[in-house]
Symmetry: C3
Subunit: 347 residues, 3 copies
């Protein structure tokens, strides 16, 4: 539940800021945005698909953001716009401005004398900024973060509490890194040598573009020799693992628990579903969608949607189907035998 | 190995505390509980299934917790009770009391002047408790934790070291949160707008009930508008990911590496196996068991066990079966052709 | 990109240190090692497989590490050796020596008066070393780490920032633990008792051998009664989860996002692919390879490669094949019916 905020807006204030058209009582003032279900009188809500029309009819909201297609679906005051979901995002951000962190270095933070810190930076207690780091304007370093030697962080980026950035990594402007994320740990590289593993130094970096969001407890490994690269506007959910030397193209969104093995190259505007797993050393084209839980074993050269998931059943049915799956060769051979008899008859 | 403790108990001390009946030498005193395999003379052990009877015969333990069904399976001193596993849990807790943390705020912790902290709270070094947080009696905040603005933590809850709780989240009484857990990070919400991702502010909270355990490096995202809710007595293992606006019912247990996408609603007394993946916006009934590794793509309305796992084979067999799985349509069509010939003959 | 280093070496310096034979201009001096693609004049590169011969022909590197089989594949100066990948690892380590952390306890670290700390230890700011811990020579404890009561860490081990080690766990010599790793959290053990979960105290430890690397945000749970054991030279990638009482044999390598349920016992020299999932209470023999994404439901008694992955298709093809997989019983029954007709005819 959002806390009530004192500041409120007339619907016409919103269309003045964000476009769209008001239909109905334009003088209504709102201070809160809420889902169709939980909205109360005085709230603004939104609908993104005709599927939710039943909820729209029951909502108590005083005004609704909707598309031209649904303009007649309610008698409430409306803001009509092309992309109600994006409109909601903008209004929600207006009504819920981000927290303003105190400018300056907390007395319990530790900043190296060789680090360069813009005046407007905010550093929380227990944070450590190591030698030669370079922190841009308006950056927030949360409590307990570690920012390694020579790290560069672009203006306006927010590191929540307890983030770790290893030496020499680069994060672009306006990024958000959530707690527990680890950027720049060593890639998983070793050579077997006379029965023992020999560590391969991981001397590349992680280089992250602008407007990238990194989820909680996500890990992005530094490159072995070259860099691991995350391009602008990539969005990573929680507990994503990105191996060394991967390259993720602009605007690609990767859902939670996805693993991407080393040296995979993923295109632009891809969407990778939760818990998918991408093999190493493969390429995925632009605009590819990978379904949740899918293992991608080889390159995908063509835009489209790809899936690899065993279908769910009740366990007793699964036992039979799994057993038949493991013996598909037998089924094929039995079909072949029947076909061969037919062929004999047809001679 | 548990360290030897000075305090020991006669078997009758245990039955006085926890019920059950002693058979054999009731004067035996024990100070340690151990598994069938590793128990030594002087130790108490336990058996939970007739499957382990061979180990029972070989154990060196001086006394055994067992069920009435196994009462004759050993000549050692016995405590007979209905639920030996729960009995073991109670004796083990008696013999291994939790560490008593020093009461008070460590001089190297940082507590906001507007936070409310019960006198009996223990705050470790490097922890940060932010503005307006409200921390109940006997809570322990481990070293390096970050507790955000307005967070409420119920009496008796233990946060191990390096836990992060974002602003306004709520944790109930007697909870345990393991290291690296992140509670209340932003849900993965964004709208595509003219080729760029637009962040949707995540202004809901995470609200966790009483007696909940949260595993190491588990992440629970805050809701977009409404709250993410974890009910009483839910148990989450390590590296679980729970998306925004999920609702997990009482007493449900979720094993390691499980991912639950946004707005999923899981019932009471469910058991979700390790590395299972639950799609978003679905409902799972009470008392559902999901097998490890299963992807749940749709709602489950009926109690029972559900599975979706490709069966394991040696790799060379798998290649053939996987290839046939991908061409099941061909097999079906060949069966159809044979059937069609039969049908022609039967005319 | 590695930063240019002042120190350079003649090829003969390298063969003097690491063996192998120089062919071509032995006086060439190199200060940097780089991949075939990104190497510049003055750099050393390496080739590990004939597959990369096309890249070898285009490389700008001044010298190449290669095997006797590829000795004629380039006219550049060469170091010929039996294991070019291991040779590269050694040269890379020589050219990129690890960072030397300042010896001593940072004034903002917290070390218990009862902890034993070798003189040569380095402890970063915000780290906490608790009572009775025992830290060997040349250990580095990174910023923000928590080292629990009675923990023992062997000589030469490196804990990166924000690592958490619970009480009484043991880490051997020359280990590396990456940020966010949690070693020794409670295993997932509880007994259902009258409709409520009862926690089973987890009083075993995690005992880790020498030369073990633990990836970022990896979690290893302590044993319930006995210990969780990780033997020497085991390599764990990021976001691996190891349940209580597991036993991982020497030299086994486990890739990212793998989950291993409680009491699994994995042999020596195994390789577990990314996002594989191992069931609890099973045994895996030495030299077993498990493919990425594979769920291992039962013990594997024989060395070899094992796989269990649904094959990927375009989504519209997958829908058909998944649907047929779920109804394999029907296909089998239709084959049976056809066979039965044949059998009747053959009578």
């Amino acid at each position: 539940m959002t806390e009530p905020l004192s500041k409120d807006y007339a619907l016409t204030d919103l269309t003045a800021l964000f476009g769209g058209e008001v239909i109905g009582d334009a003088s209504i003032r709102i201070s809160r945005i809420a889902s169709l279900d939980s909205a109360q009188t005085g709230d603004l809500t939104f609908i993104t698909s005709a599927r939710y029309q039943a909820e729209l009819e029951k909502t108590r909201a005083s005004a609704v953001i909707l598309s031209p297609q649904l303009v007649d679906a309610t008698a409430a005051a409306r803001i009509v716009c092309d992309n109600p979901y994006a409109y909601y995002a903008r209004v929600c951000a207006l009504l819920n401005p981000p927290h303003r962190y105190p400018v300056g270095v907390h007395e319990r933070a530790q900043v190296s004398t060789t680090a360069r810190i813009a005046d407007s930076v905010s550093v929380g207690p227990g944070a450590m900024i190591d030698d030669d780091a370079d922190i841009g304007a308006d950056v927030r370093i949360g409590a307990g973060c570690y920012v390694g030697r020579g790290v560069r962080i672009g203006a306006g980026t927010l590191l929540h509490a307890n983030v770790t950035i290893y030496d020499r990594c680069v994060i672009g402007e306006r990024g958000i890194v959530h707690s527990g994320a680890v950027i720049g740990a060593d890639g998983f590289g070793m050579a077997m040598d006379q029965g023992q593993w020999l560590k391969i130094p991981q001397i590349g970096r992680v280089v992250i573009g602008a407007d990238v969001e990194v989820g909680a407890n996500t890990t992005i490994d530094r490159g072995a020799l070259d860099d691991t690269v995350i391009e602008d506007d990539v969005k990573l959910d929680n507990q994503v693992q990105i191996g060394h030397n991967c390259h993720i193209g602009e605007h690609t969104a990767i859902a939670g628990c996805v693993g991407i093995a080393g040296s995979a190259r993923i295109g632009r505007y891809c969407r990778i579903g939760g818990a998918a797993m991408i093999h190493g050393h493969i390429e995925i084209a632009d605009n590819v969608e990978v379904s949740g839980g899918t293992l991608v074993p080889n390159s995908i050269n063509k835009a489209g949607k790809y899936t690899a998931v065993f279908p769910m059943s009740e366990h007793r049915d699964w036992i039979i189907n799994a057993s038949l799956t493991r013996r598909l060769r037998d089924l094929r051979d039995r079909i072949r035998a029947l076909e061969s008899r037919r062929a004999d008859e047809d001679k």
